[in-house]
Amino acid sequence: MQSMPPNASTGEPLNGLPEKAARLAVNLMRAFARVFSILVLLAAWQWLSQSGTFTPYQLPSFTAVVGRIWDDATTGDLAINAGLTLYRALAGFAICAVLGIAIGMAMSRSVIANWFFDPIISVGFPMPKIAFLPVIILWLGVYDTAKITMIVFDGIFPVIAATVIGIQGVEKELIWSARNMGASKYEVLRHVVLPAASPQIITGLQVALPLSLIVTVVAEMLMGGYGLGGAMMQAAHFANSTSVFAGIVEIAVIGYVLIKAMALVRRRLLVWHPEANAPATA
């Protein structure tokens, strides 16, 4: 017994290296598990496109679509179209965020603002805003102003609603504590109300961000011009199905990156929140 190495009985590694390697292996497995379903979907796509059931026009192969994306990237078309779509989505989202939080705060602080905005929100939130598209085109044309207006029109509602609900839920004891320690009304708002409501506000922003991307693409498709949505409609007119599918993949990737980035921002901003210790889902 005494001749055995100290840790042999417990099965623990004797130095850090195997443990590190094991952790790396576990992390790789986790990363793989996370994208497994996507890989299955892509493999099915590739197999289906080559099985002879569909013509390449009906369903171009995944590899052909990746090849098209690569071609677009080298000619610079991808940068222009994806860049414009991303710019519109993010500009619209930024306006939604600033204006939405401001209106939500005003509604929570002032009876008059609440009286004025509340019915508008109740009617406007569930309404399909895309119905206003012809009017927006009539008033603002088909360029960036019109597209970004459409995005703000759609994305601002969840931000306002989340801000109002978040501020309503702030415990009065927190506000009293700050007042007790000599905080002014403005300091209470900045130091207490906003941070206390931030989990809900960020949730509202997490709803508004993908919504902004969706509306951007829809608006681009209906109004034309550069941008991924416009490029896809153009490709469809020329029966260029590979480019249409390339657009779908590009939008999917952009949406995925945006959502992941937003989840990262949330984790960064809410390190103090109990949810930070819980496993992440987004």
């Binding site: 007042r179 007790n180 000599g182 130091h191 941070p195 206390a196 103090w272």
Partner: protein, 267 residues
């Protein structure tokens, strides 16, 4: 030799009546003609059944609720709003969850004219005092209930209030932690006595901590009696001490009928 000049009382509640106005429904008389005086450096417990308005009275003294009828004088000045001369500790801690222990404790001092280095030192001193050394950089969500209340007490003591208002501060803690915290609060108060008004519904807690216990009646809240409970609290066997047991019994008899009344009114 006693001081020939009595220092003025620190809290004077003068015939305060308060209506509770629920968002829907009829207003309810919560406090009915309350008068109470708390002397300088005195520890007074406000004891009563739940719903008797004892917390409401504390919030009125804290300046968080408008005083509609009567007056409250704190340290010679009429109470018109909250202020750092009256520090409050809440039952559910009311810590800023997005701030670490240290930054919670610093918040009150940041609004005072203290140099930064001194604020930091003072914060660390009070964190040390309540036994949270080593947890300065933890967030409240990472602490146990007892530790959170320690942090809240440190935060309130740190901005140096003349009066300490405590709203059932140990009510949310488990029995063991509560006992420990009571002993520590008493030790802190004995070392540097300050004026304390302590709301509780726990008779033993009130007798153990306070110099005087103001017993309140069920709604509408009135001060029923004030019982003197000043005696040596450092007896290790205090809970078997005859005086202690008798006082608890006396107050319990006073409050029993009120508690029954409060129960009956609810159904």
């Amino acid at each position: 030799m006693t001081d020939p000049i009595q220092p003025p009382a620190q809290i004077v509640v003068d015939r305060v009546t308060h209506m509770y106005r629920p968002p829907r429904g009829k207003p309810v008389l919560a406090l009915d003609d309350i008068s109470l005086t708390v002397q300088n450096r005195e520890f007074v417990a406000l004891l009563g059944p739940s719903g008797c308005g004892k917390s409401t009275l504390l919030y009125l003294i804290g300046g968080f609720l408008p005083i509609e009828k009567g007056a409250i004088i704190s340290d010679g000045q009429k109470v018109t709003g909250p202020g750092p001369d009256r520090g409050i500790v809440f039952q559910h801690f009311a810590l800023f969850p997005w701030k670490t222990v240290k930054h919670n404790v610093l918040y009150g001092m940041e609004r005072q004219s203290l140099p930064k280095a001194e604020r930091e030192k003072r914060a660390m001193d009070f964190i040390e005092l309540v036994g949270l050394h080593g947890f300065e950089d933890s967030y409240p969500s990472q602490l146990s209930g007892g530790m959170r209340q320690r942090c809240a007490i440190a935060r309130t003591l740190a901005f140096d209030p003349k009066i300490l208002l405590m709203d059932e501060p140990f009510g949310a803690l488990d029995a063991q932690t509560r006992g420990l915290m009571q002993r520590e609060l008493l030790a802190i108060w004995q070392r540097s006595p300050m004026t304390v008004l302590f709301v509780t519904h726990d008779v033993q807690e009130a007798v153990y901590l306070a110099d005087r216990v103001a017993v309140m009646s069920a709604r509408p809240g009135r001060i029923k009696t004030i019982v003197d409970t000043k005696f040596d609290k450092n007896d290790p066997d205090i809970f078997k001490n005859k005086f202690f047991v008798d006082k608890v019994d006396e107050i319990w008899n006073l409050i029993r009928e009120e508690a029954i009344k409060a129960q009956g009114k609810r159904t």
